[in-house]
Symmetry: C2
Subunit: 178 residues, 2 copies
């Protein structure tokens, strides 16, 4: 997964995958069948990990605003410095393949929808608790936050500092809460 992560699909050659998996050429093809299939597996795992993390951060056991704070803080962390320069498998894949590869497009689109749903539900809980500023609609605020964090991943490729990104994320969230 890590190889695709930092080099992209086209940028990752078979020797890279062999080195990363410590598998022989034959075993790799026996196990996964295909570079494309292997990539899809990696992408699926990446998506599952991300959604699982969001389920913890934004789940019903946590106070919604707190959850959103740590959710954003996680993105800030992952988009700063070296981690930021490493990038994001999902965003890179979206830009590189989503337009030409149906399998990929479905997964990427599904991920954004799932992410938006989780954020929206946290915002809805916050609204129900009266913690949202006047006029904030959970559905559209969720779309805003999704765009924002994915944009963070993009600009994170040319390393802004962690404190700057954190301040930016805080400023955005402050626009939504009381």
């Amino acid at each position: 997964m890590g190889v695709f992560w930092s080099r992209g699909y086209h940028g990752t050659a078979l020797p890279d995958l062999l080195r990363a998996t410590k598998l022989s050429r034959g075993s790799l093809y026996a196990a996964f069948g295909d570079k494309h299939a292997l990539f899809l597996r990696a992408l699926d795992r990446y998506i599952a990990d991300a959604l699982a993390r969001m389920d913890v951060e934004l789940g019903p056991r946590r106070a919604p605003i707190d959850g959103l704070r740590t959710f954003l803080a996680g993105y800030v962390e992952r988009t700063s410095g070296a981690s930021g320069r490493r990038g994001c498998l999902l965003v890179a894949t979206a830009m590189e393949l989503a337009g030409h590869d149906g399998d990929v497009e479905a997964r990427v689109g599904g991920f954004f929808k799932a992410m938006e749903a989780r954020v929206a539900s946290a915002l809805a809980r916050a609204k129900a608790a009266g913690e949202l500023a006047a006029g904030v609609e959970p559905a559209s605020a969720a779309r805003i936050l999704v765009c924002f964090v994915e944009g963070l991943r993009v600009v994170g490729k040319t390393g802004p500092t962690r404190t700057t990104s954190q301040a930016t994320a805080d400023a955005l969230l402050d626009r939504f809460i009381k």
Copy 2:
């Protein structure tokens, strides 16, 4: 430019470039020297176009809020439907190459800085005119908007409708103005 645009750097092969430029192999190498150099030229033009457009949209001759509205509307247009699926040369390049290619990284980083500066200056003018909501800091609001529009380009790869994106952008801007 268009070829790199929709296929990325690694995804674009020499024959694609020959077809697109209507040049022979020899002439292309005589004129540009290198695939990498040609790509940098395309990227520079793309950046220059984008900044020129922003200079018009956000320039001092226009009312700042109006300018921001059309600026956002332009991004909404470009990230919806077929144009959205085509993607953005800059974002795709950032994800694909910024981590490994110093020339690219400098250009991409410079673009984000320049864009942020233009948005921030429009916001500052709006603030001076008393059109911003209380507590909105032009500098951090500009960073938010940059992340947002670049995020739009990412999620735009898996086509949300134009009206949805437009509503989302409006909702965000409404958080900043009085």
